[in-house]
């Protein structure tokens, strides 16, 4: 069984490389049972999109 430490690492690596089938299945099983890690997975994607907005300078648009 995959634990949360391993699951969260894969949820991060998912943003940097394609996961293989075995990893996808194991991760799917884990996040189906673990709401904390499911939450974590969503937040990894949120962080990516926040970083994108930050580096594009969107946060200053309100001034214009």
């Amino acid at each position: 069984m995959m634990n949360c430490k391993e699951a969260t690492q894969l949820l991060s690596e998912k943003l940097d490389r394609p996961l293989d089938t075995k990893e996808k299945v194991m991760l799917g099983v884990h996040t189906a049972m673990c709401s904390s890690c499911k939450q974590f997975g969503r937040q990894m994607e949120d962080i990516r999109s926040l970083a994108k907005q930050y580096s594009k300078g969107d946060q200053t648009d309100e001034k214009e």
Partner: protein
């Protein structure tokens, strides 16, 4: 082409007026220098890259699409210059020397977040972020975000920004920085762990507890 009278085209574009706003320019310059220094690790190289990016933005102001903010555009020019610099200069710094900073990182961070069996410590379980976009319009949110980025150990912040801000691919970062894919993946993972925790503690949770 470049001789196409930059001062004339500049004066015709409304956003070019920002180039004459000393306060705006100084703030933009200092943000760019901070960002560039972290990436290239050399104050002089960083300063040069920023100057060049600003000059190039000014000279090409007529190509500047009105839909994008000036800052976005100047930053995108700077990003390309930094990527060129990073490609040109094979890093000499040993990556592990960069792991510093006052915060928990490495194994201490892992022990803080996870129990011995690898499951979340109860107090550290990720909480629901009611609306991740909430606050994106808010200047205060971005101050928190900025503070959380700055608080990352240097190595974490640097690789995180290469990946997420400069949008460089993993193999390219590994090649330029002379680190293995697995060690980059672990560094990015830990950077995201820390950033996530920091945002949750200082924005998403802080908001709920009524501050």
């Amino acid at each position: 082409m470049i001789e196409a009278n930059p001062s004339l085209s500049a004066s015709e574009t409304p956003s070019a007026a920002l180039f004459y706003d000393p306060e705006f320019m100084e703030e933009l310059r200092s943000q760019m220098v901070k960002f560039a220094t972290l990436q290239v690790q050399d104050a002089q190289l960083a300063e040069d890259a920023v100057q060049e990016a600003m000059l190039s933005a000014y000279q090409n102001i007529d190509k500047f699409g009105r839909q994008a903010a000036l800052k976005t555009w100047v930053f995108s020019i700077l990003k390309n210059k930094l990527i060129d610099l990073l490609r040109k200069e094979k890093r000499t710094t040993v990556a592990s020397q960069l792991e510093n900073g006052p915060n928990l990182h490495g194994d201490a961070l892992m022990d803080h977040l996870f129990k011995e069996n690898g499951h979340w410590q109860k107090s550290e379980r990720p909480q629901k972020w009611d609306d991740p976009d909430h606050g994106v319009e808010n200047e205060h949110f971005w101050r928190v975000f900025d503070a959380c980025l700055t608080a990352l150990p240097e190595k974490y912040g640097r690789f995180f920004m290469m990946r997420e801000f400069l949008e460089m691919a993993t193999p390219e970062i590994c090649h330029n920085e002379d680190i293995s894919v697995s060690s980059l993946n672990v560094t990015l993972y830990r950077a995201r762990l820390r950033l996530r925790e920091c945002l949750e503690d200082n924005w998403y949770q802080a908001k709920e507890s009524g501050s």
